[in-house]
């Protein structure tokens, strides 16, 4: 029964990892930009939520109605004001710039919030659980997973069923020809980054409710996000969820064997997938 429990916990944890990964995958899919600052933006979202909850006295999940649009606006501004200028045939400039951005975000957070660990307080939600047979499943992980599924289903719908999704796919396929359709790629990229950071906002808030955080934890979230993307297969939105789940289950099983092995087991699962299926388990885009 312990093993079943570990698998369920890992699956639910995978929802959070899928949320880390979704924004990363979207940005790479649309504009071939690898955002090194992605993890720090997740942590940044958690701090934005912290400020809002402490100053307004509202529940962190309620604060999402503010954190999501704030992060989306930051995403659009960041893309139009900075990242668009780094995009070209050379993939190095965006890597360097987002690495620099990562350092800037971490240090700004240190200045403003200090290095003390913080946590978003979600009250009863943190300890609530429901019984499934003889197992107790936490409400928060369950809710996180449900939100991840909803976010990914919405992204899928947006990509394949709406005019915006059509424009995003067209720009991803062929930037030059997309411009001939009257699409301003600078704006489309701005929208893509806004969407990515809106998802990041959700991920950051759920992370902050689940565990304590400080300005330095972004790098680790970036790695988990990367691993989930690569395991799932680049450019496949549902694959990202599968990748998150595989990573989550590997980690909880690792932790079950020996608590020190949690992170290592995740990396091993990632390396195994990379060795056996270098394009991930569910590749899609002919990138």
């Amino acid at each position: 029964m312990d093993w079943v429990n570990a698998i369920i916990q890992g699956t639910l944890l995978g929802g959070l990892y899928a949320l880390f990964a979704a924004g990363l995958s979207l940005i790479f899919g649309v504009m071939r930009l690898v955002n090194i600052a992605h993890g720090d933006l997740i942590v940044f979202s958690a701090y934005v939520c912290l400020t809002i909850t402490t100053s307004l006295g509202i529940h962190p999940l309620v604060a999402l109605v503010l954190v999501v649009p704030i992060m989306a606006a930051i995403g659009y501004g960041l893309q139009r004001g900075l990242l668009n200028k780094t995009l070209g045939t050379d993939i190095l400039p965006p890597l360097l710039i987002t690495f620099g951005l990562s350092v800037i975000i971490q240090n700004t957070l240190l200045q403003v919030y200090t290095a003390d660990p913080q946590k978003l307080s979600a009250g009863d939600l943190e300890i609530a659980s429901i019984k499934v047979g003889s197992l107790a499943v936490g409400m928060l992980p369950l809710l996180t997973f449900a939100i991840a599924v909803a976010v990914i289903a919405s992204l899928q719908y947006m990509f394949y069923k709406t005019a915006l999704g059509r424009a995003l796919r067209a720009v991803s396929d062929n930037q030059e020809i997309a411009q001939l359709m009257g699409l301003d790629k600078r704006h489309i990229f701005g929208i893509a980054m806004a969407l990515a950071l809106a998802v990041t906002a959700v991920a950051g808030v759920l992370l902050g409710i689940r565990t304590s955080f400080d300005p330095s934890v972004g790098g680790g979230r970036l790695i988990f996000g990367f691993e989930a993307v690569i395991i799932g297969g680049l450019g496949n939105i549902w694959g990202t969820l599968a990748g998150g789940v595989i990573l989550g289950v590997a980690q909880t099983i690792g932790a079950k064997i020996d608590p020190g092995w949690q992170i290592l087991a995740g990396h091993i699962a990632f390396l195994v997938v990379l060795a056996v299926r270098p394009n991930g388990l569910f590749p899609r885009m002919s990138a």
Partner: protein, 234 residues
């Protein structure tokens, strides 16, 4: 207002250090079909890319409907009613046939072309509307590329070697649709390697040679000798 619809003046184009066009002068009148011919590498595609805004241009080099469009981005120029059927078709692979057409019409410029009229022009596309564009034959892909440009209801449509790599019977099929396309008062620039095709469909012709206009004339009076002279420079 002059009758000149597109006026190209002293147009240069560069790829890095390489100069692909040298002082090209050209004009297309309202409703006119102009052919551009020339050997491989003469600069025909570069010319169309410059007009569409995919290459940077110097100020005053390209006028469209009496406005200087030299400094505009490609997406801004598309809004003005200029469409390109690019060399090699260049459909969006992750879009279905119908989505490729719809995105061509996303600017919703008024005019005769919509999904229905494009499907009437190329009925096979209606049957394949939900297929990925990559699943189509070359000829069908070319029809999508033409339909995608038409969906913009352009005032100027540019065709870049639409017969390239297609079987003769398919080329015949596609060219038989062209009069319908340009009979609606739009102007057209047709880039074509097949000289007799180019001459039969156009009223005037320009021949490019190594980035320069080597010959210009009326399509029905121009001589074969003059063309081969301009083609090969011998």
């Amino acid at each position: 207002m002059s009758d000149e619809f597109v006026t190209i003046t002293n147009l240069d184009a560069h790829y890095g250090d390489f100069q692909a066009l040298y002082g090209v002068d050209m004009h297309i009148d309202r409703g006119e079909v102009v052919a551009v011919i020339g050997a491989n590498g003469a600069g025909k595609s570069t010319l169309l890319r410059s007009i569409s805004g995919l290459m940077p241009n110097g100020s005053g080099q390209i006028k469209f409907k009496d406005a200087d469009i030299s400094g505009l981005r490609a997406d801004e120029i598309a809004h003005l009613g200029l469409a390109l059927v690019p060399e090699g078709r260049q459909l969006f692979p992750s879009l279905s046939v119908e989505e490729n057409l719809i995105i061509g019409g996303r600017l919703q410029r008024p005019g005769p072309w919509n999904l229905e009229s494009v499907y009437a022009l190329f009925p096979i596309l209606a049957e394949r509307r939900n297929s990925p564009s990559t699943a189509l034959s070359g000829g069908q892909q070319q029809m999508v590329a033409i339909g995608r440009a038409l969906m913009a209801n352009p005032d100027l449509i540019m065709f870049d070697e639409i017969s390239l790599g297609l079987a003769p019977i398919v080329i015949g099929e596609i060219y038989s649709a062209i009069p319908d396309v340009i009979g609606q008062g739009v102007s057209a620039i047709i880039v074509e390697q097949d000289i007799s095709k180019a001459l039969s469909i156009s009223s005037r012709v320009y021949c490019l040679q190594e980035g320069r206009v080597a010959l210009e004339g009326n399509s029905d009076t121009i001589t074969r000798e003059a063309i081969s002279q301009a083609y090969f420079g011998v």
